[in-house]
């Protein structure tokens, strides 16, 4: 799947209210940010036509992410196993893990791809791992700016659009690594960005930070309707997985995706064991 940046817009208006502004103004400002977010996405979904023979200067070319079809199919199994509210217009699925290197970003990409293919509806993959972003590596992009910079009001919103087979997949990288990731989750919650996302996309996949050793889990994991934990077979300790589930809450975790399995037992023998 080749991906490319198809839309960028002027950054949101400074969401920070002057100190002397009243609380009501803050709410209005928050709503304005959500509105601007929707406008940014709308533009990304409907790019302006470029004159024939001229390259669109706004398009940031990126090398593709190649996920095998079987990988996407396994990710499809994962999201189809999660029961969403049938009446919900938007499904928000969070993907996390116990620690780094367990494949949560790859699984999140796979799930977003599968959802986009299956539903034919706009699907967004949001990278919320502000401390150690890695989505840009998968997309072959420079790290550059991303959601954190946009939330800080330092830059425009960067939306990367999937092309070719899944043009309805949109991805928002987290941006440069941040030393205080908690504040971005607070802003995501406080400024009702999720509201804008829900109104715009049918499916939202959130690449959340690993569960262990973070203090802002309640903020981060509360953004998604459903949660999946990715564990790497032969690497993730079962005790860590248990601690993660305990810290999130067993009811909040809808399933485990066991990644990187490498079963050596012959297939004919497995049913006998």
């Amino acid at each position: 799947m080749a991906s490319s940046v198809v839309s960028e817009k002027e950054g949101p208006r400074d969401p920070r209210a002057p100190e002397e502004m009243a609380a009501e103004d803050d709410v209005k400002q928050g709503n304005a940010v959500a509105t601007e977010f929707r406008e940014s996405i709308t533009e990304a979904l409907s790019p302006r036509q470029t004159l024939p023979g001229f390259a669109d200067p706004r398009i940031e070319r990126a090398s593709g992410v190649e996920l095998p079809s079987w990988f996407v199919d396994r990710c499809r199994r994962a999201y189809l196993s999660v029961a969403f509210d049938a009446a919900a217009e938007c499904r928000v699925l969070g993907v996390t893990s116990t620690a780094y290197g367990e494949g949560k970003t790859a699984v999140a990409i796979g799930i977003a791809t599968a959802m986009a293919i299956d539903t034919k509806k706009p699907t967004l993959l949001v990278e919320c791992d502000f401390a150690a972003p890695s989505l840009h590596k998968f997309l072959g992009l420079d790290q550059g700016r991303g959601l954190s910079e946009w939330l800080d009001g330092d830059s425009r919103l960067r939306v990367v659009r999937g092309a070719a087979l899944v043009p309805n997949v949109f991805m928002i990288p987290a941006g440069t690594p941040q030393s205080e990731p908690a504040r971005f989750f607070y802003q995501l919650v406080d400024r009702e960005v999720m509201l804008g996302l829900r109104e715009t996309f049918a499916n939202v996949v959130m690449d959340l930070p690993p569960t262990l050793n973070i203090s802002y889990g309640s903020l981060a994991f509360g953004l998604a309707d459903r949660l999946l934990i990715v564990a790497r077979s032969g690497v993730t300790l079962t005790d860590d997985l248990e601690r993660s589930i305990k810290s999130i809450g067993k009811k909040r975790v809808n399933g485990i995706v066991l990644n990187g399995t490498d079963e050596r037992t012959p297939a004919w023998l497995r049913p006998l064991l």
Binding site: V65, E66, P68, W70, F71, R74, C75, R77, A78, S81, V82, G103, T105, A106, V107, G110, K137, F138, G140, L228, I229, A231, R232, S233, G234, V235, T236, L237, T238, D239, L241, E242, I245, K250, V253, N254, G255, I256, V257, L258, N259, G260, T261, D262, E263, R264, T265, P266, L269, R270, L273
Partner: protein, 318 residues
């Protein structure tokens, strides 16, 4: 079980090695340390079969001929004379053995030679060693040496018995001569006194009793000496003629693993090796605390494993 199988197949090279090492070791032990057993049997005749009624020297009247010869043989094999005879016999009959093998055979004969009885007239000999051909050669030499030494033993005992009774006879005759001389001296000193069995004189009676006593001793010693000489010669002859080889030394088994004693040890080594391998498997499985088995995860965590994704190899590192 699935976990153990997974660990087993994951480390299949290691476990194949762990399996093959004890198997190879056991096979090596079974063949390399194989011991062979050569057997032979001797028939021992009863003196009565020759019409004689004597009890051979050193034999117990309550034991069977086979038991008597087996007991005698058990004593003989421990003597230096037997070792020398065996060494000489092996050196002359099997020069290809070499002095080292001969010396080893002579040294180990006490522990590797088993003497038993079968029935009342059959003595069985078995010799165990690590080379089939050597076993037969050593047992052949042993049978010959044993036969010779048993005869020699009978002769030695006969000589000792004869010497004993000869000495007893000489003593008795000396004492008889002395007693007779004392009686004659008394008669010469007391002329006119009746010096015979009708005498009532206490001194005469005492002297006469002494003479009679030694006369009886002389007769007894002479009789015993005669009997000993007869028994001794008869015993040696009985051993010489009445002991014959019924079954010549031959290998009890010709299989690659010999008599099977090394196979038992090999089986023990194999079982121990496999047990160690099994223990290693259990330890590896127990030490591995990572998430691998979806069913085990669901059972422990109470959260469903909604998908398993095989290892993805990508240039992008995920």
């Amino acid at each position: 079980m699935a976990r153990y199988a997974e660990v087993l197949f994951r480390h299949r090279i290691r476990f194949t090695s762990l399996f093959l090492i004890p198997v190879a070791l056991a096979a090596g032990i079974a063949v390399g340390l194989a011991s062979y057993r050569a057997t032979a049997s001797l028939s021992v005749a009863d003196p009565s079969s020759f019409g004689a009624t004597f009890v051979p020297v050193g034999w117990s009247a309550n034991a069977t001929p086979a038991q008597n010869v087996a007991d005698a043989a058990a004593l003989v094999v421990k003597t230096p004379a037997f070792s020398q005879a065996l060494s000489d016999g092996l050196s002359s009959s099997s020069p290809s053995l070499g002095s080292a093998n001969v010396q080893q055979a002579v040294t180990s004969i006490g522990s590797n030679l088993k003497i038993g009885v079968s029935g009342s007239h059959l003595v069985t000999l078995s010799y165990t060693c690590h080379t089939a051909a050597v076993c037969v050669q050593v047992l052949s030499a042993t049978v010959t040496a044993l036969h010779q030494q048993l005869i020699q033993s009978e002769r030695n005992q006969a000589e000792a018995t004869t010497a004993f009774w000869t000495a007893q006879l000489q003593d008795s005759q000396t004492n008889l001569t002395s007693a007779q001389a004392d009686l004659q001296k008394f008669a010469a000193a007391n002329r006119g006194m009746t010096v015979d069995s009708t005498s009532t004189d206490s001194r005469v009676v005492l002297l006469l009793d002494r003479v009679k006593q030694w006369q009886a001793k002389v007769v007894e010693a002479r009789d015993n000496l005669s009997l000993a000489q007869y028994t001794s010669s008869a015993s040696a002859r009985l051993m010489e003629i009445g002991t014959s080889v019924v079954t010549a030394p031959e290998l009890a088994t010709t299989s690659l693993a010999g008599d099977g004693s090394s196979a038992k040890f090999a089986a023990l080594v194999l079982a121990l090796g496999l047990a160690l391998g099994l223990a290693y498997l259990v330890a590896l499985t127990w030490v591995d605390k990572t998430a691998r088995d979806p069913r085990a995860l669901e059972h422990r965590l109470g959260v469903p494993v909604v998908a398993t994704i095989p290892k993805l190899v990508s240039s992008r590192g995920f």
